[in-house]
Symmetry: D2
Subunit: 138 residues, 4 copies
Amino acid sequence: MVSVTVTPRFGDTDALGHINNVVLAAWFELARTDIFKVFDPELKLDKRTFPLIMAHTDYDFVDQIFFRPAVEVKVWVSRIGTKSMTLYHEAWQEGRLCSTGSAVIVHYDFNTGETTPIPEDKKALLAQHLLPEPQPAR
Amino acid sequence: MVSVTVTPRFGDTDALGHINNVVLAAWFELARTDIFKVFDPELKLDKRTFPLIMAHTDYDFVDQIFFRPAVEVKVWVSRIGTKSMTLYHEAWQEGRLCSTGSAVIVHYDFNTGETTPIPEDKKALLAQHLLPEPQPAR
Amino acid sequence: MVSVTVTPRFGDTDALGHINNVVLAAWFELARTDIFKVFDPELKLDKRTFPLIMAHTDYDFVDQIFFRPAVEVKVWVSRIGTKSMTLYHEAWQEGRLCSTGSAVIVHYDFNTGETTPIPEDKKALLAQHLLPEPQPAR
Amino acid sequence: MVSVTVTPRFGDTDALGHINNVVLAAWFELARTDIFKVFDPELKLDKRTFPLIMAHTDYDFVDQIFFRPAVEVKVWVSRIGTKSMTLYHEAWQEGRLCSTGSAVIVHYDFNTGETTPIPEDKKALLAQHLLPEPQPAR
């Protein structure tokens, strides 16, 4: 699991007085940075070498997020596929789970426009952040 | 169907040279404004009277979006429920379908914190934007 | 003069119910795109060839901007220097001047990290957008 | 002086590979939160009681900011006037001063639309964050 703490900004609120839902997209992205580092250790973000492209994201808004108290965003790897992976995110504010969401990211070569297999050594690094399997009830 | 045209901003690009995926969240939200108008005709966005809260959004990134050419974002109502509705969005750039996505929005009273039924007259207005059913092949 | 029309987004409001001041930075940037085109006609935004870097921006907030009515953002070239230029922006909503601001942009070579002279042919193109001099009263 | 640390997001970069200039507006705003607290201790951001409105901001871009290393944003009160104040901001990344800027904020009553005097007790709290006067050389 990887975790970042973000502090909501005044401009992240909307006229309803809470944090606007689109802000979660930026927060979940921020929390993914350490996962990106597995594939781009120096985070050069150079499209000739950066091997990931976003295929899908989703967000469930479980509870409202309010201005000011810090928000902890946690990320796990929930699936390691041949050419793609799925990340699972949670946003917590003051002990309340406020939002969950997934991102499906494809291993991709921007030079050729083709999907490519995730190398085995990267899979091993991703496996360190695997979401624990739900345990069967006894 | 409701449609808006947005022009990508320099700051909407990221280091990979294309439009960053989080931008779609803001664009889809912009495209929903006319649907919000069904529930808040003058768009006062006052939480004592605004009756909608976001429950879920998802985004599929079908093709890259690049800087400058205008993007058309279309929204349909894909489900009208008792206390919630689902919207379906598409983003098109120069004839290419680049992104699709859904938003599940709950009819909600911010004063009581309770979900509330969508009034019948609002349902009738929403029905004007219904996504056409797929037609069976002959 | 160059002009763009933007529609405020729900997420551009803040808890005070008006458009948050940081949004103006993104709108003014959007309005500058046609000026960038003078220097990068195909808007490739490739740092090996894009010759501009931002040195300064300022914003005066003259009147509040509210959700929904379209905002027209106008840009003029207010100064053409040897190695830099100044742009002047105005944001109007429903006939009210809501914000003004300037941007000082330097002609720059990202490969060498040096400022470079603005070519004469570019100066001629910029001159087409010059802010009119205030006229003396008769 | 008040200080916050922010971590640049992937989406804060632009196609030139550095942090886009509009992002500074959001970072400086975040850093002002503790100053807002002087006037709105619980940060309710309710326009019936929140007594501040932004009049002016400016930004000098001294050096480029890059993806990933943390950025420290510092804020001082540089002027305490009768009905307004000026804040001074600095953004530092890895020991480099990257951006400076000011914000002029007016003490304001959103109910009446009138400027109002800053109470003396608030002035005393602001004075704790005063920018030191430059000292004369001996």
